[in-house]
Symmetry: C2
Subunit: 422 residues, 2 copies
């Protein structure tokens, strides 16, 4: 009960702050973001020493070297965080934007204006830079934000949030605009998810367990940042050089992210030419390949780093230098595989056939569908939105990269001259 | 468990149907809607006789005459239902609309295409025409729909849905595209709300109890259609004739709907001129008035149909010919009252002062904010959207009137020529 009361008092403060934030000028919000950036850089040493506590605990708890690497702060990473804040300050303010304005036959002028959502709660795991990124996006879009980071980064997040809060307050932002939950008690998540009178949107960023917990227990609307099981389909008519470049980019440029390719689908007509070439390139890049029967038959079973795919391979988001490959006999078979196994995240086709390209584009259900380009482009920067909260795998409100304008909602505005309803 | 299994099997069928619906041409969907309209009209007598069973049960259960009137079907109402289907057929198909398309510096063309949400569940009370309206909007936007009407209209809804389903199937729509839940067991609602793998959106339309039940128990995203506690503020500089026309329209044109005015706020500088006039008009229209102390002092306490307002009056959605009136000393006081007591539905100002009009427009938080016009315009037809699902009081995805395009979501589409991420 004490935990609930404390969290509620904090959420109420953020709620009050959100009312003020909603009406702040862009100038004040930007001034605050630049001050926050400066404060982070000035506190670089302190942040790194607090981060060391997290790294020490993490090592003791047996976190993998990859996770520890993601968790660690360096002077360069602190600067990058500060630059992230400056980038958000430089983006246009979405609040007050009038999306459309039409005149009705009765003379009413009716449009929609972007306004902040209100209070946004973010529940995230691991990387501490998310704390700064998310706070910046919420402030710029006029929203109060409640941050709940993972226990493995609690010292780093607490230090970052304290610096951000202090700088925000000194720049004229209201008390509570940015609020970090300082307890690592997991119960705090369940308590937060009940506060639908105080929090307007919950964004979970993390593993499947977290997303499931949030979806099942939230009374507050949820915008999921779920997994990406992404495919690239190399059609019979694909330009082979283009297909090689796109597949290699989608798999190896950054294998641990959600928009990386996990399964390669190859049309059987091009497989004898394409498969030996792409597998040679993949092996050179240390990618382990798991092939369907046809793939294995075409490549021969004795190659190192090549093994038969099991059913589980089609459902696995490796997030690693591993790729499953399946030969299909048609575009329809490729699309059926994607519909069955894909996570509706990022799906690509490489083809020279216009009808096939448009069929794939229209029929495939995903947050982003790519023709002749890499799934790695499913990203706020690449799509021209600027910084992003992440990539939404929800269908409602925002799907795909979530930029500043997705952190607003629209109210109708009506200019009349005395009109009444007949 | 049996109930859950039955509902699940039905939802799975609708899910499969939704995949086919998503790819149907506008021509087939429109043909089905027109056939459904014709079938409803042809079955008018049958529908009215089924409706009589509901009216009989309703009268036995002691439903109010107003509720029984809402529930009743007449030949005219059946025709209006059919015309509603024809109107939806005549609206543009939102599916496949490309919302924007931009070229990035690397040559990628990136845009967003509207696609169906998937399966929509509607939980509604009372009026049986909702069954046809909602089915039409969901079919046109390519969504499967699961309908759960109120027990008081079960015979009417079952008959309407059976006719719609039969006509839809005969016109080439997939089995299960429109599915009505035929049990009146309330447990069915709780079972439905767990099916987040099969249903993409839940829309509750009804009283506060229903909305609360759905919000607290749903794992599926919810778009609420909650109450409207709407205000009109008559500013010091208002044109008095205009203010009279707007206030009368907002209160009496259709008092039982969510966008009707419930509280009138009057600036103290105009109150001595305006209040006696508007109250005389309201009384002539049989509106009962509940005034604040200042209102009572200005009007004298002895008038018939005029009594002092209690605190509860500011929080009550009368949905009837009752109006609370409060005199305020400033625009800020009016906006503070709205922020405290309003339900963020429809809020209006009547003023000749440009700065006040714009301040009100920018600061007031509601699904629609009106300058010099009636709150009654917060409606899909009035806003030019055509037919609507209702008026969303949720902030995310769609706020205000929910038209066809709000029943879609957007996927990013990317046209490349071999681009890869650097």
């Amino acid at each position: 009960m004490k935990l609930y009361d404390e969290l509620k008092a904090s959420a109420e403060e953020t709620r009050r702050a959100s009312k003020k934030l909603a009406t702040l000028s862009s100038a004040i919000k930007n001034k605050a973001l630049l001050a926050m950036a400066k404060s982070l850089e000035a506190a670089s040493e302190h942040l790194i020493s607090e981060n060391k506590k997290d790294l020490k605990h993490g090592a003791e708890k047996g976190l993998s070297p990859a996770l520890l690497e993601r968790l660690s702060l360096t002077p360069k990473r602190v600067s990058a965080m500060a630059d992230g804040l400056r980038e958000v300050a430089a983006l246009p303010d979405p609040v007050g934007e009038i999306v459309e304005m039409k005149r009705r036959p009765n003379g009413l002028q009716i449009g929609q204006m972007r306004v902040p959502i209100g209070v946004i709660g973010i529940i995230y795991e691991s990387r501490p830079n998310v704390t700064a990124d998310v706070a910046a996006l919420c402030i710029k879009s006029g929203n109060g934000v409640i941050l709940r980071g993972g226990s493995e980064a609690i010292h780093s997040n607490t230090a970052i949030a304290a610096i951000l809060e202090k700088a925000a307050l000194a720049s004229g932002l209201p008390q509570g605009a940015v609020a970090l939950i300082k307890t690592t008690d997991r119960q705090a998540i369940f308590e937060l998810l009940k506060m639908d009178a105080l929090i307007d949107l919950i964004i979970p960023r993390g593993g499947e367990g977290l997303i499931r917990t949030v979806t099942e227990n939230s009374r507050i609307p949820v915008m999921k940042h779920d997994k990406g099981l992404c495919h690239t389909f190399v059609d019979a008519s694909a330009n082979i050089e283009m297909a090689e470049a796109i597949c290699m980019n989608a798999k190896v440029q950054r294998p641990a992210v959600c928009n990386a390719m996990e399964t390669l689908l190859v049309h059987e007509a091009i497989a004898p030419d394409f498969l030996p070439r792409i597998v040679a390139l993949l092996r050179k890049a240390s990618v382990e390949v798991r092939g369907c029967n046809k793939t294995m038959a075409l490549l021969g079973p004795t190659q190192e780093g090549l093994s038969p795919a099991a059913e589980a391979d089609w459902t696995t988001e490796y997030l690693d230098l591993i790729l499953s490959i399946k030969v299909v006999d048609s575009l329809e078979a490729a699309m059926a595989h994607i519909a069955r196994y894909g996570s509706q995240h990022s799906e690509a086709i490489v083809t020279r056939d216009h009808a096939n390209a448009m069929h794939f584009l229209n029929q495939v259900d995903a947050s982003a569908v790519f023709i002749n380009s890499s799934t790695r482009f499913n990203d706020g920067y690449a799509f021209g939105l600027g910084a992003e909260m992440g990539i939404s795998t929800s269908r409602l409100h925002a799907r795909g990269p979530v930029g500043l304008s997705d952190l607003t909602c629209k109210k109708y505005i009506v200019f009349g001259e005395g009109q009444i309803r007949e």
